[in-house]
Amino acid sequence: MRLFEQHLNRAVTISTYPCHRAMRLSPKLAANLLPLPCWLVLTCLAVAQDIPGTRVPSVTMSPAPTITITRGKPGTVDLHFRIDGGFHINSNTPKSEFLIPTVLKLTAPTDIVVGKVIYPPGEDMSFPFAPTEKLSVYSGVFILGVVVRPLASVVPGKYAFHGQLKYQACDKAACYPPKQLPVDFQVKVAKGSSTHKKNPGQSPHVHR
């Protein structure tokens, strides 16, 4: 057993050697070879990604943490989206009237107002299909801000928001039909501090 352990410490045995003879790889060499498969996997995946139409584009939303907003006051909820590598979607303000902009549509609970949706500016990029033309796009991760204002009459608690992100994706050689991604997040409405003063003019205890 000790002999076996010594052997194991000294060498790695490969049994697939074509001459059916066990070959020894020094641990140092084996350690050097270990990253090779990972590198090759990544290379092959990158090659596969480069072939148009081999993958379906996908935009995903990270789960949004519940934000606490004081009733009567506006607050901003940040929604994080990720676009698959190799794809891009039009920004909210594409450079052509024919291109489909990325738009977030939300329905809000009663007495909570969904205000402005803050879209990040698109990145001006050119693609192999039109090297001289710049398109305004999102790629990788992008964040949309949603301004939410619960009315003062809202009962404190958690409120769910639902909606859809409408987008249209392309890769470097093809475009995919417009899609809708369901968007869900929650907002916790808090009562807020009761530090506001009463109207001095109406108080019988006001002394000037």
Binding site: I14, M23, V47, F129, A173
Partner: protein, 187 residues
């Protein structure tokens, strides 16, 4: 420098395995598309009846005896915009040899908007308002542009996904023009 044969063998095995994996993954993810591509080639292109921009009903069978370049596109597809002026130019060049380019707009936009878009790109060929079922009859059009090259005898010569170079398009046109030439000669 003396090379360790084990290292060479390991590297060769890993490279082969990874290439195999890459090809498998690529084929699997596009399996449906590739299957439909394989099943379409050599088959009679499905006939359809679609409205042209000026409201006329146009059938694929109207062009029997001609080589047809059938291009599925949309106004929101930037790569499609690149090909369309090439198609217009190739339509001019090969019209006398019997080429007919037909564009099918897979768009929610109305005929006026599609017409304006096509006119701005110098489109001189037939543009039809697409329907989902026509795309389905051609094995599905999961992305644009998708182009079918149909021979004079009505069989699908080639199906091409995504934007290709002008040279590749012209080669496919020549192939489609030569397909079924005997049939035409008999007529």
């Amino acid at each position: 420098m003396k090379r360790d044969p084990v290292v060479i063998i390991v590297v060769a095995l890993v490279v082969s395995a990874m290439l195999g994996f890459g090809v498998y993954k690529s084929r699997r993810s596009s399996g449906q598309t590739k299957n439909s591509e394989a099943s379409m080639k050599g088959q009679l292109a499905p006939d359809f009846a679609l409205q042209s921009l000026d409201g006329k009903t146009v059938r694929l069978s109207d062009f029997r005896g001609k080589a047809v370049l059938l291009n599925f596109w949309a106004t929101w597809c930037q790569p499609c915009k690149i090909e369309m002026p090439w198609f217009a130019d190739l339509q001019n060049r090969y019209a006398s040899e019997g080429l007919q380019v037909v564009g099918i707009a897979m768009d929610d936009a109305g005929p006026d908007e599609i017409g304006k878009f096509a006119k701005d790109l110098g489109v001189n060929y037939v543009v039809l308002i697409g329907k989902e079922e026509v795309g389905d009859s051609y094995g599905g059009v999961p992305f644009l542009p998708t182009t079918f090259y149909i021979g004079r005898d009505g069989t699908v010569v080639d199906k091409v996904f995504g934007l290709k170079g002008r040279g590749e398009i012209e080669s496919a046109i020549k192939k489609a023009l030569s397909q079924g030439q005997a049939v035409q000669a008999q007529k």
